[in-house]
């Protein structure tokens, strides 16, 4: 997975280099996150991360240059997603057909200075898998229902955002936005890709990652449950028996 991520980053780096040469602009984007990690603790109920960015210019932009926009794509670690469809058998509803998703991030959100369709061309979106219609894929086009269901279910859970988060762009130089991480995020590396768009074409990108990790007691319990399952099981039982005995003793003393 780490290898795949590096490869992807190299590919995007090449793409961005090519596109910036093509565009002939000396504009590059730099961005910084308020935090590059999210800790899942016992009281975790979501997190908000601020993204700040600036556009570097080596020369002033000529007046004929098209509209400038910023798109920030946040995509969670891909998970193996199996989608099942219920069917009525006789009188009851049972899981029947199932489809394995080709690509489905565990989290997906877009922050931009406007609606995605208006900011970039269709070919750019297809090239960069930008937007839910490209980021979520099934191998077989006939399974479109399943793809839509994945998007719908994720949107209801809050793990895919339905609307584009606004990005505040000041003087075509500075921009800022707020990335909301919902409570039900999964652990892993989240890719934050900041894209600078001029004339509906991406001319510069900057990528950073947010690492979501369980910490403290949560991490300890999770690791114990998976690595020392037998001890964890005994511990759970010990806690249960102790709690049962304590309650019984307390009530015996209180009520005689």
């Amino acid at each position: 997975m780490a290898r795949g991520g590096t490869d992807m980053r190299i590919i995007f780096l090449i793409i961005s280099l090519i596109s910036s040469t093509v565009a002939g602009a000396q504009e590059t984007v730099v961005s910084e996150l308020s935090q590059d990690g999210v800790s899942i603790t016992a009281t975790f109920d979501g997190s908000e991360i601020f993204l700040f960015g600036a556009i570097k210019r080596e020369a002033p932009v000529n007046a004929a240059a098209g509209q400038l926009d910023v798109i920030i794509e946040v995509s969670g670690p891909p998970t193996e997603t199996l989608v099942r469809q219920k069917e009525r058998k006789v009188i009851i509803w049972v899981n029947a057909a199932s489809v394995e998703m080709d690509r489905a991030p565990s989290y997906y959100s877009i922050a931009a200075t406007g609606p995605l369709e208006e900011l970039v061309t269709e070919s750019e979106r297809s090239l960069r898998n930008l937007g839910l219609d490209y980021a979520v894929r099934v191998a077989n086009p006939e399974d479109e229902d399943f793809r839509e269901a994945v998007i719908r279910i994720h949107q209801r859970n809050g793990t895919y955002t339905t609307e584009v988060t606004p990005v505040k762009l000041t003087e075509e130089t500075l921009f800022t936005t707020k990335l909301a991480m919902p409570v039900n995020v999964v652990e892993g590396e989240y890719t934050v890709k900041t894209m600078l768009v001029r004339d509906q074409r991406v001319i510069s990108t900057s990528t950073s990652t947010i690492t979501v990790r369980k910490t403290g007691a949560e991490k300890w319990l999770y690791d114990l449950a998976h690595e020392q399952a037998f001890i964890y099981g005994l511990l759970s039982l010990a806690v249960a028996l102790l709690a049962g005995w304590t309650a019984s003793e307390i009530f015996r003393r209180v009520r005689g």
Partner: protein, 304 residues
């Protein structure tokens, strides 16, 4: 106040969990059932993944049953010999149940199995108990002397006869072993103690006196659910200790209150109340199976 559950990997209101635990605990103490048949569906309703709900509930039942059985041991209303026979069957059943659970989880039918099991068992037991207790109440109102049934059925013809002093019975060890095994399967698959099927079976099939039924069933439930907890923890990694702890804080307190309420109520009243509750849960789950669901698709984490 929200709390993040490490194994279920979701955030839930802490007071909601303690409240659910308490409510189910009271019922559990009153009726001598683990309460799992109510708690497990409630956990599904608040969004806990079924596999986690079932395994965690087994752990929680250990606590509430242990708390309940201590009171019965003091009152000498536990038949340890009968409990041990039930337990041996229970362990065998639970081991088989966990394997079935694992297999059906892989093919994506575990939710269906759980719901169907609930509908079938709750429907059967609920209606039987309801009719029987209604009859009992009518009889006591007419102040007719209760029929002393000394049944001699096929059960009395089986070999391996044993004397169960506390229950005042001399019967074959096979029926209690089979009852125990059936309950063990249910414990593993449905995340229940199985009291709702064991209690009626002990009364109507084995012919045990009502007084010792609850204590003895709790005794068996503790060990079977403890075994189930270990099986799920080591094979499926689905026991959420934080969830279990919160449920049992409410649960053990509720069970103590419930036991005291139960002592003050008549057996027929208890049984008819339990029957109504069992039928209610059955109806709700049955409707969920038959009515067109609002979402036909579901995301699984993969069957590999």
């Amino acid at each position: 106040m929200q709390i993040y559950l490490p194994i279920a990997e979701m955030s839930v209101n802490i007071f909601l969990l303690i409240g659910l635990g308490g409510l189910v605990g009271i019922l559990s103490g009153m009726f001598g059932v683990g309460g799992g048949f109510l708690m497990t569906p409630l956990l599904f309703f608040i969004g806990i993944p079924p596999a986690v709900a079932v395994a965690t509930e087994a752990n929680q039942i250990v606590a509430s049953s242990f708390s309940g059985v201590l009171a019965h041991v003091k009152k000498r209303t536990v038949d340890f010999k009968m409990g041990t026979v039930l337990l041996l069957g229970g362990l065998l059943g639970a081991a088989a149940g966990v394997q079935v659970f694992k297999y059906l989880k892989e093919i994506g039918q575990v939710d269906l199995l759980i719901t169907l099991s609930y509908v079938v068992f709750l429907g059967m037991i609920g209606s039987l108990m309801f009719i029987e207790s209604l009859g009992a109440i009518r009889r006591s109102k007419r102040s007719a002397p209760p029929k002393k049934i000394k049944r001699h059925t096929w059960i009395h013809g089986l070999p391996l006869k044993m004397r169960f002093r506390t229950s005042n019975l001399y019967i074959s060890a096979i029926p209690p072993f089979v009852v125990g095994a059936l309950v063990g399967i249910l414990a593993a698959i449905m995340g229940v103690g199985g009291g709702f099927i064991m209690v009626p079976a002990m009364i109507y099939v084995l012919g045990m006196p009502t007084k010792v039924v609850i204590g003895t069933s709790l005794f068996q439930i503790i060990f079977v659910t403890a075994f189930t907890t270990m099986m799920h923890a080591t094979q499926n990694y689905t026991v959420d200790a934080v969830l279990a702890l919160l449920l049992l804080i409410g649960g053990v307190i509720g069970a103590q209150i419930g036991t005291r309420i139960g002592v003050k109520m008549k057996a027929e009243q208890l049984r008819i109340l339990l029957a109504i509750m069992v039928l209610g849960v059955c109806l709700k789950l049955g409707l969920d199976l038959v009515l067109t669901p609002s979402e036909l698709f579901s995301i699984g984490t993969g069957g590999h």
